[in-house]
Symmetry: D2
Amino acid sequence: MTDDANRLRVAIVGASGYTGAELVRLLVCHPAARVVALTADRKAGNTLDAVFPHLAGAGGEGALPPLVAVDNVDWEGIDIAFFGLPHGASQPVIAALPPQVKAIDLSPDFRFADPAVYSEWYGLPHQSPALQAEAVYGLTELMRDRVKAARIIACPGCYPTSSLLPLIPLVEAGLIEADEVIIDAKSGVSGAGRAAKEGSLYAEVAEGIHAYGVASHRHAPEIEQGLSLAAGRAIKVNFTPHLMPMNRGILSSIYVRLAKGASADDLRATLATRYQGEPFVKVLAAGTVPATRHVRGSNQCRIGVFADRLPGRAILLSVIDNLVKGASGQAVQNMNVVCGLPETMGLAQAPIFP
Amino acid sequence: MTDDANRLRVAIVGASGYTGAELVRLLVCHPAARVVALTADRKAGNTLDAVFPHLAGAGGEGALPPLVAVDNVDWEGIDIAFFGLPHGASQPVIAALPPQVKAIDLSPDFRFADPAVYSEWYGLPHQSPALQAEAVYGLTELMRDRVKAARIIACPGCYPTSSLLPLIPLVEAGLIEADEVIIDAKSGVSGAGRAAKEGSLYAEVAEGIHAYGVASHRHAPEIEQGLSLAAGRAIKVNFTPHLMPMNRGILSSIYVRLAKGASADDLRATLATRYQGEPFVKVLAAGTVPATRHVRGSNQCRIGVFADRLPGRAILLSVIDNLVKGASGQAVQNMNVVCGLPETMGLAQAPIFP
Amino acid sequence: MTDDANRLRVAIVGASGYTGAELVRLLVCHPAARVVALTADRKAGNTLDAVFPHLAGAGGEGALPPLVAVDNVDWEGIDIAFFGLPHGASQPVIAALPPQVKAIDLSPDFRFADPAVYSEWYGLPHQSPALQAEAVYGLTELMRDRVKAARIIACPGCYPTSSLLPLIPLVEAGLIEADEVIIDAKSGVSGAGRAAKEGSLYAEVAEGIHAYGVASHRHAPEIEQGLSLAAGRAIKVNFTPHLMPMNRGILSSIYVRLAKGASADDLRATLATRYQGEPFVKVLAAGTVPATRHVRGSNQCRIGVFADRLPGRAILLSVIDNLVKGASGQAVQNMNVVCGLPETMGLAQAPIFP
Amino acid sequence: MTDDANRLRVAIVGASGYTGAELVRLLVCHPAARVVALTADRKAGNTLDAVFPHLAGAGGEGALPPLVAVDNVDWEGIDIAFFGLPHGASQPVIAALPPQVKAIDLSPDFRFADPAVYSEWYGLPHQSPALQAEAVYGLTELMRDRVKAARIIACPGCYPTSSLLPLIPLVEAGLIEADEVIIDAKSGVSGAGRAAKEGSLYAEVAEGIHAYGVASHRHAPEIEQGLSLAAGRAIKVNFTPHLMPMNRGILSSIYVRLAKGASADDLRATLATRYQGEPFVKVLAAGTVPATRHVRGSNQCRIGVFADRLPGRAILLSVIDNLVKGASGQAVQNMNVVCGLPETMGLAQAPIFP
């Protein structure tokens, strides 16, 4: 446990959404960090527990500062700032930060190396293309060295995290055909955020499932960026997300064509080797199926690999908690890396089941 | 409304499972049928509402007979018998029926034209291979003429129903590559039946999702039988079912490679034409996504067709209520057909939402 | 089945909410009614299935009219109008109806005999106090004779329906102390309507329960009105509603003090006698516990009566589907009564489980 | 963080149930404890993650011992043993422990000061009545001094924990009438354990609610024991549990009659004073309603106090996570107390929401 004076001073910008709350949940138990600023423009003036009653008393009575408008943050006192804002909102704030503040952005604002792709999919011009060049895509296990040296870290989207962790090593190893990847993803509802929308109502989600954003979801180009980099050429994917009745969790069922001569066992072995020793990525034994409920509340990604009945094909099953490894947990993991802390610090909680 | 004396006299063999209860729910409102026998060997002697309280008073007080052992059914008084037994149990009972009784079997016992396939996947020798030749696979919309003349109707499994309705017309039309079909299916829990198994407990199912029977589920050969017949050659499929927290419903997300020159619009048009005028199969307009909750409690199948981001590919989305169109509803539909009644009789209820 | 020309011509005002959709679900199967007008001011111009996809094709293709603004309804062609509007909105529309239209209001606008009570609890002056005198409180089983002769029927709230059916006969019989009734009610989410509110989001409702409106819910005065009338003096109640994760259903657990000499068995016998022959109210045998899932989708109310461990007290358990017996089903039941049709017409569906 | 050699050596007897898994989840993060033995007679020989995949790797790879039969535990190496066995099974094992082992029992085996009460409600003779006299009822906040000195700690049931924390201080202060307490409790499904029972199936629990054990649940006498002790005379209560669709959580809605002159504000003030400084019990501000989802995964109990519409009465609302404060968390809290550790050690996690 670090002395309070030596702890990292952390700001959470956009603390009134689910990812903001999840950052708080994780950081109040982090032994080397201290949350010193919380912002939420429309809720400024409130305590956090007025917005998120479950966080009342978190970290000890009085441990958390009140919500303020982002303009009222004293950035001189901040070492690390997390951004949980809607797309388009992070870029100007991060551009105006004093240089000693490291920014960890959970929005898509800095995820795309090519600002034109961002602009095409999010319908906005990029407001800080110069900074974009310096931003690092924070898929920690696969970008650790670049994260270490970064000042701006763009945390991957939840779906891309669950897809790219199994896919990138296989594409890099040439074991699968990168041009024919089919990703059928199933997500819990918290991924849609806390905004009051008819489509997120209990009665519209419970006891049913449906696809959405078919062939048009914004996480497709993000996945394609990752695979294109790995393949060394432009790749497109089938990415079909589904909304289902659970609070947390993503299961990506990924259907791949094997490269000539490769087998499902080869894929599993390659992934097992690649993630050997990684504390948060587990490649399961043959025959073991991952389940979202087995990673709930934790920063884990679990991956299963299966042979297909169709010859020359394999199935990858990948699960994460979208709010942890898919958002706030990976963000804290990146903080640990960029600050030189042990990577698992504050992230060692076991999953919570049932 | 038919005079009571002229109504079809119906037996439900295996009335203590969810499909049995669903048959009762539908048949008590059927104007040309009357349930005169209910069997449940282990529950014999009970009234049905002791097993299924929701059916207390269904059809009017005293409308339903008590549960008896199957050996105690007086078959002379029966016109139609539904079988909701576990696999292996229907064959001997159906083989011993007097000739005037038409049998509608919801189990897999008569689904496979080749008894060896049944035997391989269900681990039992077929006990009535002679009768198998006469059994008709009751995917009503695609087998109507054969159903009309049948004495033994094998109702399709729930997953095959949701998959074959969109796929068979496309394979027959040569619009998709039958050898590369990938079916990612999501099912509610009632498909697993009412047996008390750890894996079906609320705490093991709620708030999560996982694949099961990967590359080994018994509905794969059934789907393959349907596609092989349509293609005129032996076909294998990727069929990957997932268990998710809902009572009723199946969504099959089907990823197909287009035949040369074909487009997603062609697929949609072909299906729309094929199912034009069908009361229970709806092909949705371009851009409309089907949802399981929109068919809950009804005998409908709804199908959406989408272009893929991957060139030369398309996505089919198909939803049913597994207990209705996937089991008891299609069984009643088959009864209507085989008995010369209007096909929608007793099946006109609108879906129940939310 | 009535000839189309002879069917009642029905308007549903406010068809874009859950109760409106439920009216449509029930009425498309009603053999003596035909829906000829559907209104939804903000959605005018749409077809109903654009708002409620589950109703696509309901009643047969083309059976349902498009949504129009309420001002565009041709009232001359209407026999019966159902109102599913927010409070305050029905009063002026009903006041302006031509005299041949019977109004069945699902809102609270005409539920209170004393306009001052309405005004106090709903924060609005009553806009049609003259009409109020002629409105009948449509708790059908207990008000059947008055409903028969009514022109304006105020359908009870969902919570009051589940509470008053067991309580009123017991208060009238003097078997319980009317001044000490404690009603702990648990409701599904559809009771909160389809408005996009943070508190109704899946993630805010699933996997949890909480009380709301403690000692201040608007259904308290409505229950009190019913009990006061039965007791012949002003009665107050404890009414504590809870929001829980289910789409449909209300369970009211009611804790009562017995009148001197009365027993739980007396209560059960009195209710059984009172509701003898009623098609929609079932008093369960001693020891049988009602469950909301056993009445889902049906117009039933089921009531269990238990002795308490505390001497001199008893427990009443009452379940309904809030959208059916608690709203649209009871509304159709009232239509049947006021129009001289068989009371169960169009309402005979068995509950849907699971 | 304690040196490994100095950590408490902990055994979990009955590790294959939900409370066993929850103990592991909490203890792998406990800085002063080390799990050195796990028993599960029927699963002996397996690793824990074969039974609970979510715990794979918990505490670090290889941190957890394999499951063994209870007879194979080497008790000499154990400081603390937790018991998560069915009722009747703990008594003989605890009776045979060497004297240095402290026993923390999560079953009802040692909860009743009077063995005859245990015997009456659990249908078994007490097998260790002599030890019973020495056992301490581990409702930590109210029994801390006795827990400190105990060798056998009987952890309270989940329902009694949620009820007694608000009630005992009020009965002791004479602010409520102890003879008229009505407890309407709502519980998640994990309280029923992991046994495969029809009544715990997803399809039998989801989307519904029902009361069970009405006037006959085994937690009634346990609550009565606590209140009787507080009141100084024999007390009976109305305790009516309900099963609802959630994994974790209990909400007890408690209806009380105020002592003459007392008000709801007095009750709240008394509870606030009583629990001032307690890390795990929060008395909420007037008007704030507790929700089970706000304590999920944490060891908290939150209590709200409301005036009733009925004069002279008040409403207490109390929430816990049944697996944490209602079972394994309170057990760890008791371990901390009895071992002289800081009471919050290993229990500081914030609740997990959504």
